[in-house]
């Protein structure tokens, strides 16, 4: 995989990397309105500067159990704005290459992970926002 910039964030005990070009910004979650009847993976609608984002519980989608996230990475997919709740955001770093995803991922993680990098001795899983959005509708983690 080619080298590029990645937003490194923590989901549960796992460190993930979101391709920087897929993330518009990382912002604090405010002004949240719930969506009745939505699956638990959808936290609600968050408004940032008159744009409305569908806020997804990234940790729950990854099967890590719901977390109290203060931050979200915002990302546009097919014209719709999504917020991906993140427990901690570390840094934006350049990663040269990702290898294949490790074997033995939980089924929830397996749906999300596209590859793995060994960054200064730490395993970082490559996750694309589209995969998180796609899994939010059929949450294996939420069912488990």
């Amino acid at each position: 995989m080619s080298s590029g910039l990645y937003l490194v964030a923590g989901v549960g005990g796992t460190t993930i990397a979101l391709p920087a070009e897929t993330v518009e910004a990382v912002v604090r979650i405010t002004a949240l309105v719930p969506v009745p009847c939505a699956p638990p993976t959808i936290i609600g609608l968050a408004t940032i500067r008159s744009r409305v984002f569908t806020l997804l519980d990234t940790a729950l989608i990854a099967g890590e159990g719901t977390a109290q996230s203060q931050l979200m990475a915002i990302s546009s997919i097919e014209g719709h704005g999504y917020g991906l709740a993140l427990e901690r955001v570390e840094d934006v770093i350049a990663i040269d290459r990702f290898g294949p995803a490790p074997a033995g991922l939980t089924s929830a993680w397996a749906q999300l992970v596209d590859g793995m990098a060994d960054h200064q001795g730490r395993a970082i899983l490559l996750v694309r926002p589209e995969a998180i959005v796609a899994s939010a509708g059929t949450p294996l983690g939420a069912a488990a």
Partner: protein, 700 residues
């Protein structure tokens, strides 16, 4: 003119303007090959697209110009003035023809042989001259003045346009919404600092300008209906010759503007209805003459705007609908019971054309009559939040009317509060709003299902909080019941904690994740800055109750549904009898005169601890009690003093009428007495203007 041709016209005019400039620049500096290449490519493009649209005159002129340009490109020398003049002339001709297409949708008749000869003669003659000889040749600079081009038209202003990506427009719209939210926040901060924003003239100017910009941005999505109507003449000509009918098409109201998206969705329904009209509406010339009609049939397409809705009427002067076969088909398909049939009014029967599987055709033709159709038309219009109506004039024709919203991005909605947040219900599905405490409604339950009895009809009742899984808040007094039209003809009642407001909402699409919930159809970000979900009442009803019932639970007979029920009463100012529509009556009260007060010209009554505006039309007694009828729509209410209550009657307007004191929809008669039919919504609106309702800081 269809969109593609329109685009061709716009592009060609733009290109002709820029290419003429390129040519002059190139003539001045022949070493600049890129200019000539650009010109060549432009002419090539025009040639290609004009042949695609079958515009032979433009194709021929462009082809000749292209050949000459090709030769000039090969020579790499200074162009001769006559060659440049001939090419300029070719551009001018293409421009004129394009303008004519913009006006008429087709190439005008004419002959370009002289111009083409002139262009090609440059190929044979002195293509290029030495620099010293430039301008010496004495050919007429602008040849072909004798060619027939028709009167020269000035380019219509609306072609002076720019093409923008829709994403840029959306970005602009978002930016404007941002500005509005920012303005609101500044206003709030000003108020907190003890400054009245209304008194700050700079702030006022900002607000006014912002409102104008917002309106202009909204306008950007609009297109004139002319664009939608333009291909119709060709279509009608083609269909009528195919079917051997002689039909004339009249179009009116092309200037009416409509959201581009709505216009797109109207195309198929309009074509479908016109096709039906030509195929089975309009008779053959012989039969028309025998019936005493002009041999040529007439189709009329007209559009007009009423507030934020567009009404499109498609009218033919054919033989009208075959009512008998519609009835027998409706009976055969089980839409109507056989013993009900004789009671059906002709208007009601005409509506059967919208039932699935019903065809208006005696025979199936290649054009229409396969029984797929009007039900799909109706469904498509309803998808837009619109309605369809049909009016049949036996022996004289049929009118099909589409009533659609002007724009999909802004809807008029009722904001309802539940569980501490607001939801929107589009006005297009709302039939009426009743107070839950009104005497007109009775709640029942049967086998766990909630039911509501309203004026002789039993309707399924849904409680909003239960639908959405929200906890009910204690406050029960103010609950309202909203009757909504769902799935075409059924009605469902939704019990909501509070109707807050009527709002115009800018609707944004929902991501698929939320759309698939089948509860919401869109979302909006009102000025409050809190996102509001729009309830998809149709889908909710289909999902929760109507799946096995389909139609509303029949309680009222067809006949009863046709005439509205009215309560007659005698009022102070007049001997005549006033009738108030039952739909709008909340209840009757006997009030002590002391409960009334007079403020200036107006009266107000204290009813159940609330102040209710009174519409007083005569003298009020000094003491004792008076009887009032309270009407309302769940949000607004008023009371009218009456002398006595008469009876409940189904009445229809017989003649329209006006009255200085009370708005009427017309007069009816019953047992020899003349009855004035009150226009309750108009009276509510009038009273509201006199008594602006203030609630939760919102002035309506």
């Amino acid at each position: 003119m269809d969109d593609l041709l329109r685009e061709f016209v716009g592009e060609t005019l733009d290109m002709m303007e820029s290419v003429a400039g390129d040519l002059v620049v190139w003539e001045a500096d022949p070493t600049d090959r890129s200019g000539l290449d650009r010109i060549f490519r432009t002419v090539h493009t025009v040639k290609g697209s004009s042949s695609f649209f079958d515009l032979p005159r433009i194709t021929a002129v462009a082809h000749a110009a292209e050949e000459l340009l090709d030769a000039l490109r090969a020579r790499r020398s200074v162009p001769a003035a006559p060659a440049v003049a001939a090419i300029l002339e070719a551009f001018e001709r293409i421009r004129q023809l394009t303008v004519a297409i913009a006006a008429d949708g087709a190439e005008p008749e004419g002959d370009d042989a002289a111009l083409i000869g002139q262009i090609l003669s440059n190929l044979r003659g002195g293509l290029a001259l030495a620099a010293g000889e430039r301008g010496v040749e004495e050919q007429p600079a602008i040849p072909g003045a004798h060619d027939q081009v028709g009167p020269v038209t000035v380019v219509p202003q609306n072609w002076r346009s720019v093409r923008l990506p829709v994403a840029l427009l959306d970005q602009l719209m978002n930016g404007v919404s941002d500005l509005v939210l920012g303005r609101n926040e500044v206003a709030a901060q000003l108020r907190a600092a003890g400054i009245d924003p209304a008194e700050l003239s700079a702030f006022e100017r900002l607000s006014t300008t912002l409102a104008q910009v917002r309106a202009a941005v909204g306008q950007m999505r609009m297109v004139p209906l002319r664009q939608l109507f333009a291909p119709l003449p060709r279509l009608v000509r083609q269909l009528s010759s195919e079917l051997g009918k002689d039909v004339r098409l009249e179009i009116e109201g092309g200037e009416v503007e409509i959201d581009r998206e709505v216009a797109e969705s109207l195309r198929d329904p309009i074509v479908h209805v016109l096709r039906n009209a030509i195929d089975h509406g309009i008779e053959s010339s012989e039969r028309r003459i025998a019936a005493g009609k002009p041999a040529q049939g007439t189709l009329r397409v007209s559009a007009r705007q009423a507030h934020n809705r567009i009404l499109i009427a498609l009218e033919d002067d054919g033989g009208g609908l075959p009512l008998e076969s519609l009835v027998s088909r409706a009976i055969a398909d089980g839409h109507v019971a056989e013993d009900e049939a004789p009671k059906l009014t002709p208007d009601r029967i005409a509506e059967f054309v919208f039932l699935p599987g019903v065809s208006t055709a005696a025979a199936v033709t290649g054009v229409s009559g396969r029984g797929v159709g009007m039900d799909v038309v109706k469904a498509n219009i309803e998808k837009l939040g619109g309605q369809t109506h049909v009016r049949n004039r036996p022996g004289a024709g049929v009118t099909v009317e589409f009533d659609v919203p002007m724009t999909l991005t802004i809807i008029s909605a009722l904001a309802v509060d539940a569980g501490g947040q607001s939801f929107a219900i589009p006005r297009s599905v709302v039939l009426e709003v009743l107070l839950a405490s009104s005497d007109a409604v009775q709640r029942q339950s049967a086998g766990g299902a909630g039911l509501l009895r309203v004026r002789g009809r039993m309707l399924p009742l849904l409680v909003l909080e239960e639908l959405l899984g929200l906890s009910k808040t204690g406050e029960e007094a103010d609950r309202a019941i909203i009757l909504c039209r769902v799935g075409g003809n059924a009605t469902v009642a939704i019990d909501v904690p509070d109707v807050r407001d009527h709002e115009e909402l800018v609707i944004k699409p929902l991501p698929p994740l939320l759309l698939t919930l089948g509860i919401y159809s869109g979302m909006s970000l009102p000025d409050s800055g809190q996102p509001m979900l729009v309830l998809d009442v149709d889908a909710i009803a289909a999902g929760s109750i109507l799946s096995d019932q389909g139609e509303e639970i029949p309680a009222a007979s067809m006949a009863e549904r046709d005439s509205e029920l009215w309560l007659t009463c005698t009022v102070h100012h007049d001997d005549r009898c006033l009738a108030v529509p039952m739909t709008w009556i909340e209840r009757l009260h006997d009030l002590p005169v002391a409960a009334l007060s007079r403020i200036g010209e107006r009266h107000v009554a204290m009813i159940d601890g609330q102040l209710v505006p009174m519409v007083v039309t005569g003298a009020i007694p000094e003491q004792g009690t008076i009887r009032v009828v309270r009407i309302g729509d769940g949000v607004r209410r008023l009371a009218i003093p009456i002398v006595d209550v008469g009876q409940m009657l189904p009445l229809d307007v017989e003649i329209p009428a006006e009255d200085a004191l009370l708005p009427l929809i017309g007069l009816a008669q019953h047992d020899g007495a003349i009855i004035q039919l009150l226009d309750a919504p108009a009276l509510l609106a009038e009273t509201e203007r006199a008594w602006p309702r203030r609630e939760k800081g919102v002035t309506v």
